[in-house]
């Protein structure tokens, strides 16, 4: 029930930003949005609806770089996944770390492993491989045949 209502609210507030909605079941929903609206959507979920930021998962596919931002509603058990697709040449997206500290480390990690640039991140230094890994080489990147 709460799942339906949160989807309706998001549809209402972010009509032009939402690209696709996949409802896997009552507790797992994936919402694809345009990358420019991530801060607004995250702000709405975190401040208005009281969602908790679990973590973000970056991955690389033929479509470019993708990020799933996993949010949790701890009263209903809903895991709401905000999905964005980034440019494959110059991947960048606005940082969420000015809103909550929970995303600080994972954004640094994604920057380090995938080379995704988080704009306005308070401190986008290396997290894992400080001083022992070459600059501009990203260990989790893949190459696809064109």
């Amino acid at each position: 029930m709460e799942t339906v209502s949160i989807i309706e609210k998001l549809k209402e507030n972010f009509t032009s930003d939402i690209v696709d909605i996949t409802v896997k079941n009552d507790k797992r929903v994936i919402i694809s949005i345009s990358k420019d609206s991530i801060v607004n959507v995250a702000d709405y979920l975190f401040r208005k609806e009281g969602f908790r930021f679990i973590i973000a998962s970056a991955l690389q596919s033929k479509r470019g770089f993708e990020i799933y931002y996993h949010f949790s509603n701890d009263t209903s058990g809903l895991v709401l996944n905000i999905h964005v697709i980034l440019d494959s040449e110059i991947p960048r997206i606005e940082s969420l770390s000015n809103m909550f500290n929970a995303s600080n480390w994972i954004e640094r990690e994604m920057h380090e492993l995938y080379g995704i640039n988080f704009l306005n991140h308070p401190n986008q230094e290396k997290l894992i491989s400080e001083g022992n890994w070459a600059e501009g080489v990203y260990p989790m990147r893949k190459e696809f045949k064109k």
Binding site: I54, I55, L59, S61, S72, G77, F100, A102
Partner: protein
């Protein structure tokens, strides 16, 4: 502001068995700022996972953590079963829950011991670890291993818990409950522990929400989140238990939450054991054909908090992306809040209070004679030694019934 002094904790330090460097910037005794360096032990498990099959990944994720070595397989199983829409049997649910809760029991005992050790109160350390041993022996009886139990697989568990084992488990639980009574009484009433932990390393509700902290760290600050209740999996919806919370947010509150949670764990295990008796023996797995294309989000409540696994499958026999988030990843970051403004002596216990994940699998290491340099044991002898010990434990549990 006077001159700041740098006090390093780590990369190798008695406080932490795993390497991680915390730099405390202090003005006199007071910590003013903290910076850290991580990644000394980065093992590339997420990348490695992409090259293994689903069956093999269970053994891989089990080795992420030496203490909570069933939490990661638990969350991974939840994720994969979500992709393939597998319904596991009730007996499997009970067995998985028993393993998860036994693990919480031994992990919390381990933490209480370590916390005592960091406070310089080694009696608590000796007690807690002594009481933890029978729980590890139970694991050896059930799975053959004290740690890294290898119990989980897609659609089921690898080993059953038979009738005679149920009685042996019950006997240990009765003993452990009495010991926890003793320990709880000793810790809760001790004026030295009060003096060292009350009002130390306070995390407010707002800090928890800001850092996204989970598990006992969050619950001790009055944030009642627990995946077992919020997003129930395995047998947790079938048993009756309650979430333990405290309001103070200091180290003492975290200790209280962990101590009281152990009673809940024992109660959950007892209900699961009762449930097992009603289910048919041997009904511990379902047939899995293949993992279809799709994404799965698996969660499990580890002793330290929520474990999260994101798995993306392309229909082949290994995932294309496997993201793992351990609870310490978000909990350790709260150290910045809890240690600034404290004295250096309190900073250590503030860090230990979130129970950062230590590896506890060093068990038998001596293999050379120092004088003659001769090998005392070779690999096969070590394995035989382990197998014989397991047999002994099984024999002794049979005798006690």
């Amino acid at each position: 502001m006077g001159k700041k002094t740098l006090i390093p904790i780590g990369p190798y330090h008695p406080l932490q068995e795993e390497p991680e460097l915390f730099k405390l910037y202090c003005d006199g005794e007071i910590v003013k700022d903290v910076k850290w360096e991580t990644g000394y032990n980065h093992r590339g498990i997420e990348k490695l996972s992409e090259s293994k099959t689903y069956e093999q990944i269970f053994f891989l994720v089990e080795r992420i953590c030496g203490i909570c070595s069933s939490s990661h397989p638990f969350a991974f199983a939840n994720a994969v079963e979500e992709i393939a829409e597998i319904k596991i049997t009730t007996r499997t649910k009970y067995i998985r829950t028993i393993i998860g809760e036994l693990e919480r029991l031994h992990s919390h005992l381990l933490w209480v011991g370590l916390a005592g050790h960091f406070l310089g109160y080694n009696t608590v350390f000796m007690w807690a670890w002594k009481y933890r041993e029978p729980v590890l022996d139970l694991f050896e009886m059930i799975s053959g291993n004290r740690n890294s139990y290898a119990m989980f697989k897609v659609g089921g568990v690898r080993r059953d818990i038979e009738e005679n084992k149920i009685q042996a488990i019950q006997k240990v639980l009765d003993d452990v409950r009495k010991k926890i009574d003793l320990l709880t009484g000793a810790v809760m009433d001790d004026p030295v522990i009060h003096a060292r932990t009350r009002g130390v390393g306070i995390l407010t509700k707002q800090d928890i929400i800001d850092y996204g902290a989970v598990g006992p760290t969050a619950r001790a600050s009055g944030v009642p989140i627990d995946v077992r209740k919020d997003d129930p999996y395995a047998a947790y919806p079938l048993v009756d238990w309650k979430i333990i919370t405290a309001e103070e947010g200091d180290v003492f509150a975290k200790a209280k939450v962990r101590l009281l949670e152990m009673y809940e764990s024992i109660s959950i295990i007892e209900q699961c054991l009762a449930g097992l008796k009603k289910e048919k023996e041997g009904d511990i797995s379902v047939k899995v054909k293949e993992i279809p294309e799709g994404v799965g989000f698996g969660r499990a409540e580890a002793p330290r908090g929520e474990v999260f696994h994101f798995v993306q499958s392309d229909g082949s026999n290994s995932p294309v992306r496997h993201k793992i988030r351990a609870p310490s990843y978000v909990n350790i970051a709260t150290f910045k809040k809890s240690c600034i403004g404290q004295s250096i002596a309190d900073a250590t216990i503030s860090l230990a209070a979130v129970d950062p994940c230590y590896c506890c699998t060093e068990r038998l290491a001596a293999a050379y004679d120092l004088n003659s340099q001769e090998r005392i044991m070779n690999a096969n002898e070590l394995i035989n030694n382990s197998v014989n010990r397991t047999k002994e434990i099984k024999e002794s549990t049979r005798r006690t019934i």
